[in-house]
Symmetry: C3
Subunit: 157 residues, 3 copies
C-alpha cells in the first residue's frame, strides 16, 4: 500500500498527541508515507525541556513559560484536574504496556514519519527552531497543502 | 454513490457526538458505507448506563465513575456549566424536532453503520466489552486504517 | 491543481477559526475550489456584531447573548483566561503581520471560497439568516456531503 497520510496536529493535549502518533506509526508500519504538520498548541509536543534560545520579547517569554515544554508536561483534554488526570492516564498506559508519548515520537522518527513544524505558528508564539526536537522540517501552509493533496487520509487533530 | 466514509470519534462531548452521528446517518442515507471508530472519550458515547462487568482495579473503577455513562450523561464542549448547557441544548433540539443522540445511534445501527470500539482505549480506560452497547465491533488502529485508506471522506471528531 | 477542499468548522474558537481560514485561503490561492461548512459553535464566527432580527424565544435570546458575536469576540481554545489569552494572541499576530480573522474572512470571500451556514444548527441555536455576514450560502448535512465526496481534502475543525 502506497497511499500517503497527512495529519495536522493542532492540539497540544497528551491524549490527542498520543492518538496522532498511534495513527501515524500504524500508517507508517503499513507502508504509508506519513507527514505530521504541527501547528499552534501542537508545537508544544515538539519542545525540548531545556533549550538554549536567542533573544525573546518579554511577551514571548511569558507565552513560553505558560505553555508546556515537551511531551512529559502535556495535560489531557478532559478531566486533567491540574495534571492529576494526565498522571492517571500515564499510569494506566504504563500498566497496559502502551508506549509513552516520547517513545511514540522516537518510533515515528525511526520509521521515517516526516515531522513538520509550522513556521507561522512558531513566529506568533515566539518559538525558535533550536527549542524544538532535532530531525524535523519546517514549513508553512503551502507545504502542508502540497502533502495533503497527495494524501488519501487527511486528519485535523 | 459508493464512496466509503470513516469517522474517528475521539470526543465524548454531546455536541460533537451529535455532529458525528448526523454526518454518519446522512452519509449512510446517501448510500455510503460508513465506519465510526470510537476511541478515548468517544467510548463513553457507547457505554450502557448500568452494565454488569468483570473485576476492575480500583483505579479503573474511579475512571469509570468519573466518566459519563452513555449518551444521556454527556456534557457539551462549550458552555456546559455543570450540565446546564447540555440541558439547554437538548431542550432546543427537542423544540426543533431534532433527533436525540440515542435515536441517532439507533438509526445508525439500523442503517448498517459499522460502529467499532477501539480496544486499546478500552484497555487503558478499563472499559469492558459488556459495558458497551450491543451490535458493535472491536478493533485497533490497523482496523481503522484499513477502512480509512478505502474511504473518500475521513474525519477526526 | 483542481482538487476540491471541504472544511467543517465546528469550533468557534479564535485559534481554530484562524487555522480554518488560513488553510482555506491557502488552498484557494493554489487553485482549489474550497467550501467551508459552519456548524454549531462555528456559526459564531459568521455573526454580525449588531444585527436586527425577527422574534426570538427568550431561551434563544439567552443563547444569543451567551455566545460570542463575530470574529472580534471569540476566545481561544486554551489559556483564554477570560479573554486575556485571545488579546495576547492578537497582539502577537499583529506584531508578526499575520492577517486578522476579519481580514482572513474577507480574503476568503474575495477568493471565492464558498461559505455555508448549517441550517439545522441555526435552527437549534436560534440564529437567523440576517444575523450572519452577507454573501454566504445555507444548507444541511446533504449539502456538506455532496461537496465532501467530491473533495480530495476533508477536514473537521
Amino acid at each position: 500500500m502506497a497511499d500517503k497520510t497527512t495529519i495536522i496536529v493542532f492540539s497540544g493535549d497528551l491524549d490527542k498527541a498520543m492518538a496522532s502518533f498511534i495513527i501515524a506509526n500504524g500508517a507508517a508500519a503499513m507502508g504509508s508515507e506519513v507527514t505530521m504538520f504541527f501547528t499552534f498548541w501542537g508545537l508544544n509536543i515538539l519542545r525540548k525541556e531545556n533549550a538554549a534560545h536567542g533573544k525573546k520579547h518579554w511577551m514571548e517569554k511569558m507565552f513560553s513559560a505558560m505553555m508546556p515544554k515537551g511531551p512529559e508536561k502535556l495535560g489531557i483534554s478532559k478531566m486533567n484536574m491540574g495534571g492529576l488526570g494526565a498522571k492517571m492516564m500515564k499510569w494506566a498506559m504504563r500498566r497496559k504496556n502502551v508506549s509513552t508519548l516520547p517513545q511514540l515520537i522516537e518510533m515515528a522518527q525511526e520509521q521515517g514519519v516526516k515531522i513538520v513544524a509550522c513556521t507561522m505558528s512558531m513566529d506568533v508564539l515566539g518559538i525558535q527552531a533550536e527549542e524544538l526536537i532535532d530531525g524535523i522540517d519546517f514549513g508553512g501552509v503551502a507545504t502542508y497543502l502540497d502533502e495533503a493533496y497527495e494524501s488519501k487520509v487527511n486528519l485535523f487533530i
